[in-house]
Symmetry: C2
Subunit: 427 residues, 2 copies
């Protein structure tokens, strides 16, 4: 994994060292037989998910779907001349960062200081922190990291003069100033200056700060819409026009030759790519930050991904799946699975039962619905004529990968039912 990565973008030795970590009871679901072996040794054994002692519940990654998504996004970005700094918060998995970078990613996006530290522990060279960073302890650590590694490229958001002041107070006159992008928001949105005048004032403050270097503009269109209705797509476009106008309006203030212009979650990155590339009166680095594409999902992103909505586009494939056993079947129309809020996402739709695998290993589609999750149980409502048995395994599609990965520290990667790798997360 990661054999093609451009090594200047990530510390391949640190990523490879994950394979030397010992597996034990700290990692949910793994076979007790392999406790004491390394991650790499477990991967090399090509274990079977159902024959070799894994215990439920499990979440697994599909190797072919991962590769498909990596290739699809790489090609898509290359064709549009847009750079990609995928949001690494989704997986917090350096092995996957390495693959994203090997597939052409320009950098990796982070959300906070603790995430940034994980990235730096694995030598991620170019990071966008898609957030304000105002805490003095985090800023001082960042300044040290920038001073110690001249190749480390970093930028974070600023959306207020107050944030510029906090940063300047904490940083003083650092060896290397911290690159900042003025964040534009919109009324009703999340962070970001609410209008051009405010954004320009923030840009001027950043320019005036000895601690900061004004390096571009950024924002997040995903806070302004949540579906693919015409009005939602229009709101996104209007916002992106404003972001473009801001970049052009403060062109004279940028302290770099090629300012960054960045937006893009996983729902509207097609519109973002159009608006941040194209004709500019000066050279810019157009950067998308979509992160969920690497696994996609069977819920929210399946419904909203531009590659699913665009006729003729090659859609991403869901690479995440949970497996849980039927442990109780107390009523004709109800079974309970060993899967709960500790194991699966539930914030953007409940898990979707897809397949039942009998004790004989035969799989068939399952006509049922998860109606509720408790901490450690899923309620499986069986439709009329459908049945399962205690001991059967059920495969479930998941919605919103971000709240799946953070429940698993070591995730098997499978080809069919064969485990070909294990992905370590750091939350």
């Amino acid at each position: 994994m990661g054999c093609n990565v451009r090594s200047e973008h990530v510390d391949l030795d640190a990523v490879a060292a994950i394979r030397r970590e010992r597996v034990d009871w700290r990692f949910k679901g793994l076979p007790a037989d392999v406790f004491g072996a390394t991650v790499g040794e477990v991967a090399d054994r090509r274990l079977d998910l159902f024959a070799d002692g894994f215990v439920g519940p499990l979440v697994v990654l599909d190797a072919a779907a991962l590769e498909h998504n990596l290739v699809t996004m790489e090609r898509w970005c290359a064709e549009r001349g847009v750079l990609l700094a995928p949001h690494g918060k989704t997986t917090m998995a350096p092995q996957l960062f390495a693959r994203q970078l090997a597939h052409g990613a320009w950098g990796v996006t982070a959300a906070n200081t603790s995430q940034l530290r994980v990235y730096r522990a694995f030598g991620v060279r170019r990071v966008l922190l898609a957030n304000q960073l105002v805490d003095p302890a985090g800023l001082r650590w960042l300044a040290g990291e920038l001073a110690a590694d001249p190749d480390f490229e970093f930028a974070c958001w600023v959306d207020s003069v107050a944030a510029v002041d906090r940063m300047t107070e904490a940083l003083g006159t650092p060896e290397r100033p911290v690159d900042v992008l003025v964040e534009l928001g919109a009324p009703g949105g999340r962070t970001g200056a609410r209008d051009q005048a405010t954004a320009v004032a923030v840009a001027r403050a950043a320019l005036a700060s000895p601690a900061l270097r004004l390096a571009g503009v950024g924002g997040y269109e995903g806070a302004l819409a949540h579906d693919a209705a015409v009005e939602s797509l229009s709101a996104v476009d209007r916002y992106l026009d404003d972001l473009r106008a801001l970049a052009i309006g403060i062109a004279d203030l940028f302290e770099v030759d090629e300012p960054i212009v960045t937006a893009g979650g996983s729902a509207y990155f097609d519109q973002v790519a159009v608006k941040i590339t194209g004709e500019w009166p000066f050279p810019v680095r157009p950067v998308l930050r979509s992160g969920a594409y690497i696994t996609h999902d069977d819920g929210f992103y399946r419904g909203i991904s531009p590659l699913g909505r665009t006729p003729g586009a090659e859609p991403f494939r869901s690479a995440l799946r949970a497996w849980a056993q039927v442990t109780s079947h107390p009523q004709e129309d109800l079974a309970l699975l060993t899967l709960g809020k500790r194991d699966a996402s539930f914030d953007e739709g409940l898990p979707e039962p897809q397949v039942v695998r009998g004790r004989d290993g035969v799989e068939r589609p399952l006509d049922a619905e998860v109606t509720a999750l408790n901490d450690q149980h899923a309620f499986l409502a069986l439709r009329r004529g459908e049945d399962v048995e205690v001991g059967d395994w059920v495969a479930l599609g998941l919605s919103h990968p971000c709240t799946v990965f953070d429940k698993w520290q070591l995730i098997p990667v499978v080809e069919g039912t064969t485990v070909v790798d294990l992905v370590r997360t750091y939350f």
Copy 2:
């Protein structure tokens, strides 16, 4: 921590070894200065949460509230002659298990095989698995664990003849049979046999199995009600009467001298204690499994805990609190905090802003509401006349400890703002 624990109940050396683990970037929020030091060394430094380099967001445990809750529950159970096997899924923190056992707990409850493995890695001697356990790999591992340690006491639920069959197939004729408790449920509930006749059939099947030993009855009243309305309390009482009737009805089938009778989440444990203690025609071990009491909360459990609802009772205190910084204040009535779905629970109510701490260290009550959580952001709606500044810290009460602990691997324990210990979780 844990100095008074009865060492036969948990492996104190294993718990103490947590203090020797090295702290680094794998643990969210900790000061970079202490990376490389051990957990014990960090605890001994008596760091200040705001002066010594912690970065937000953070979740902390209040030392005094933890102690209060431990003492309160110990006394409460002792006064009622009820045993306590707190559900350890809440915290998955062996340091806290040791303290619960030191405060009189009889055992610890688990939800699945992976949790049981964590418990056994720390030598927890007596475990209730409040679930069916039907997967062959988990059962074979359990049989080995029972064979290897004659002091290990274990029981899990069975609620169907099919589950008995699955267990028997997987276990064959083990060195030590696996203790099982017949689980009684109720229509509209979660797991558990739906009527006495079914439960009796399950008991007979367990008795007939060479792999199992029928050791009691159990269930979970918390699946039948979610508030303290009169009808809810009545439904709980009716269920507990049925559980008692089941135990009496199958008295002749038990294969142990003193069968376990167990129920009890954190919402109705007062009613459970009444119904499972009292006069029995034969000796029983009445066991509560309430787990959330150790931290209590500022949401769901604050509203429903019997000690909060009973006049004159000493209530539990919330021991969990999140701290996050204001990083953006883009509108007069809106600020954004560095706290999201990755950091705080959101399934039983959103975090409750309680206090704002200015950069001068002065704290005051905060009149605001969290209206939404994104993955890494909280939306703080400020009421008219209230204001915060970028850089301020905000303290937030949390609801439902189970979905807080699973987001943190190392949690500072504080006295005021001084970190006096660190609790390690294993999810």
